[in-house]
Structure formats: structure tokens, C-alpha cells
């Protein structure tokens, strides 16, 4: 177990990170992601509060859908990346990263303060539920033995289901590059639900595999590819910005950056051999530094090193650069992401 954002989390189960990774790519695994926060936002003006707080445009989706979005500071830096579950017309579950729940709650509380309806409610419900992410090509088929309703939810859809007499929520989302769902279940039945998933042939997987899976899938991790000083545009996530909607924090900084040109930009790199590239390594072009690695590891699926790096904007896919690794320079090729699987 390791400390993670105020939670004790398993880095791996006795199966081991590599086997857990393989099972997620070939069968089905479950991650306990209860450390993700849940902030319930309710009321007539909930839509307006979320629309004015985060970057993405809620009008691109509708009730019963999930949307990936960002909370920015005034300079456009990403304070958190978030999934919003639009439960029904006036009810949203906003799901920040573990250590950023307070930040996101505070930002939404600011919206409450500016609310004139007097009916907007923002409540941290993290302690009331567990969130279990069932991921992998066989995820839905095996989950169906536990709940056919949960297994049937569409990609980026949100729906209710019942387990053990309790109302639960499921979304067709995940962080692995595989098909799968995330289930929020009340703590009263969480352990029973977990056991039922294991009985259905779904193997538990820990933080180690979660990280290698998301890296192969080219998905950013807050604190690495996203953070203060890094905008969504730097991270190649311009699609997360609702340019056509109204004001939100960081908007004018993004407009300035968009006009001036984005520098640096996030790129994928692959290395030969098994040695894992590591965060912080300088990326060199003919001996000159053009950026640095934000995340890197051995890719269990590909059998060689993969990395994400913030690089100078004139670097193009196909360019051959090198990493300043301990013991010498390692060639690294710029590639399109994801490294494995389909586009997110």
C-alpha cells in the first residue's frame, strides 16, 4: 500500500503490475478508484454553475452523459481535470482527482456565492460511495453477471442501476484505453459489489497498472502532463475548451495563448529497448534541449519504452530526438498518441 492524495492505495495486488496490465488489455480488471472525489451539484442553476466554472461546453452533451473538462486558474493553468456525470436535468456529479477535490469544491462554492436563485447546492459526497472501474475487452460481458444494467451503459453515457437494493450510478468511462465502465456504489454495499466482481472473473488491479495503462493510452495525469503553468492547449487538449460558450476562469489567457502560438506542446516518444524513460529527463535535438519527459515507463504491451514529453512546437512526429538518461543519450522517436489502442 502507498499513500496517494490522502488515501492508502495498493500499488499492485499479489498478481503484480505487469500481469494486471496484461489482463486489462486482454480480459477484464477492476480498479478501486474511490479516491476520485465526487461533488454533487444540484439545483435549477447547476448547469450554469458548471458551465461558468469549467472549460468544456455542457451544451455539447445532455442529461445522461459524461463529459471530460478542466478547472483552470486565471493564467490558464490546469488546476484539475475532471469528469462530469450529468445524472439528470438539474443533478451533476463532478469527479475531480483525489488531492484536488477541495479545489474543485471551492470553485463550485464560488458559483453558489454568485447564485441568485438561492437553490444551488454543492456537496462533497466522496465519503458516501465507492467507485469501482471495470475495464478491459471482457469488462461488460463479465460485469453483466453482476448487473446487466450496469454492463449495458453506453460509452460516455451515465445511467442508474440497482445493486443489493441500493441505487447506484454507472458511466461508460475509464482511464485505460480499453472499453469499460465506472460504477459508483453506496459504501453499504461496496464490499459486496467488489466481491461479486471478483466472483465474476474480474481481477483486481492497482495504481501501478493504472499508470502504465493510461500512459500507453496517451492519457494525461494531473501533476505530470497537466498542472499549474500547463494549459489544456499545451497538453494537446484544445477539444476540452468550449470556445463558443461564455466566460470561465482562464478563458482570456487561453485566447492570448492561442493567438500567440502554443509552446511547449505535449508529444509521444518511443525508445528502443526495455529501459523505462523517466519523468524529468531532458529531451535533446542534436545536443540542444527541446523539452523534458513528463511521464515515462516500460510499455508492457509494446515491450519497449514510451514517454510523454513537453516539447518545442517545431518538433514533428517522425523526428528522431534523444533522452538524456543516466549513462548516456537514448534515441527517442516522436510518435502520434495513443501508443496502444484507440483514440480516447
Amino acid at each position: 500500500m502507498v499513500p496517494f492524495g490522502g488515501w492508502e492505495m495498493p500499488l499492485s495486488y499479489p498478481t503484480g503490475t505487469l500481469e494486471e496490465h496484461r489482463l486489462c488489455r486482454s480480459e477484464a480488471v477492476v480498479f478501486d478508484v474511490s479516491h476520485l472525489g465526487t461533488v454533487r451539484v444540484e439545483g435549477e442553476s447547476a448547469h450554469r454553475a458548471i458551465q461558468g466554472t469549467f472549460t468544456n461546453d455542457l451544451d455539447r452533451v445532455s442529461p445522461g452523459r459524461a463529459q471530460y473538462t478542466h478547472l483552470l486558474d486565471d493564467s490558464g493553468g490546469v488546476l484539475d481535470d475532471i469528469i462530469v456525470w450529468w445524472i439528470d436535468d438539474e443533478t451533476f456529479d463532478v469527479m475531480p482527482n483525489a488531492s484536488n477535490t477541495q479545489r474543485v469544491s471551492d470553485a463550485l462554492a464560488g458559483a453558489v456565492a454568485g447564485d441568485t436563485s438561492g437553490q444551488l447546492k454543492v456537496r462533497d459526497t466522496t465519503a458516501e460511495r465507492a467507485v469501482l472501474a471495470v475495464q478491459g475487452p471482457d469488462a461488460r460481458q463479465r460485469l453483466a453477471a453482476v448487473s446487466a444494467d450496469a454492463a449495458a451503459v453506453g460509452r460516455f453515457r451515465v445511467a442508474g442501476f440497482e445493486f443489493g437494493g441500493h441505487a447506484c450510478t454507472v458511466a461508460g468511462t475509464g482511464y485505460t484505453g480499453e472499453d469499460g465502465v465506472e460504477c459508483a456504489v453506496p459504501v453499504a454495499v461496496a464490499a459486496e459489489f467488489w466481491d461479486a466482481l471478483l466472483d465474476a472473473g474480474i481481477q483486481p488491479a492497482g495504481l501501478g497498472a493504472r499508470d502504465t495503462l493510461r500512459l500507453e493510452a496517451g492519457l494525461p495525469l494531473h501533476g505530470h502532463e497537466l498542472g499549474v503553468g500547463i494549459t489544456p492547449l499545451n497538453a494537446g487538449l484544445g477539444w476540452v475548451v468550449g470556445w463558443d460558450k461564455g466566460e470561465f476562469p482562464g478563458r482570456s489567457a487561453l485566447e492570448t495563448q492561442r493567438a500567440a502560438g502554443v509552446d511547449p506542446v505535449l508529444r509521444g516518444l518511443t525508445t528502443e529497448g526495455r529501459r523505462p524513460p523517466r519523468e524529468g529527463q531532458a529531451v535533446l535535438r542534436s545536443g540542444e534541449q527541446v523539452g523534458s519527459v513528463t511521464s515515462g515507463n516500460f510499455s508492457p504491451t509494446l515491450g519497449h519504452g514510451v514517454a510523454m514529453a513537453m516539447l518545442s512546437p517545431d518538433v514533428e512526429p517522425g523526428d528522431v530526438l534523444s533522452l538524456d538518461a543516466r549513462g548516456g543519450e537514448v534515441p527517442a522517436v516522436v510518435v502520434e498518441m495513443p501508443f496502444v489502442g484507440r483514440k480516447p
Partner: protein, 139 residues
Amino acid sequence: MRGGCGASGTVAIMNIPVELRYTKDHEWVSLDGNRARVGVTDYAQEALGDVVFVQLPTLGDEVAQGDVLGEVESTKSVSEIYAPVAGKVAEVNLALEDSPELVNGEPYGEGWMVVIELSDPAAVESLMTSEAYAALIEG
């Protein structure tokens, strides 16, 4: 072995063969004449997690006790391996190039790392016995 992540939580029941000698950095040594076979312990491999890359020294390298022999990288960390004894690197385990997972699967067997030809075989006597090593990790 030093660096990277330490083990946390409770110490599982670890395999510590009595016939081997140990270092505080979690290397083991098996002496045969003047040849010392070296690897990392069961405790070390468990703490490392899944090993994905092992960097070994070059044949013929002369090493002093405590010199860096190589590196072990897992999905979560990088750790250095230190020479438990002084001498010349006489063999390296090339199988680890393609199958570093042997370090996890058979830390005292096929997961060995190097053989050092000792300049002074008596130096092994200065290393920890299995009892002393068990006491260290249960510490």
C-alpha cells in the same frame, strides 16, 4: 540495492536461504571457491515490484566493495545494485536482458546478476549471515 521505493506495510514471509551471505542493501552472495555469485534478495524483488530492465556491468570490470554494479528498474522505481565484495566481473547474466522478470520469479536462481572473481575470498566472511539479514528486514 538502494534507492527507489522501499517496501511498506507488513513484511511478508520472505525466503532467506541459510547457505547465502547478505548485505544491508539486499544483495545476496553465494561463494564457490573464489567466485561469488550475486543477486538481489526475495525481499528486494518484492519491494521493487515487477522488474522490467536490468543494467549489468561489463565483463572484466574491476569493482571495489560498495561500487555500483548495475541498476534494476521496475515499473515504479530505479534502484542501484552494489558490489558486495571486491574483484573482477567474471560473468553477467545475459538472460536478464530479455527476461528481467527472472529477478522476481527466481531471485536466488535464474535471476542472479553477476559472478565476481574475488581478490580476497575471506571478504565474504564480513557479510551478513541469513540470521542477521532476517533480523535486518524484520527490524
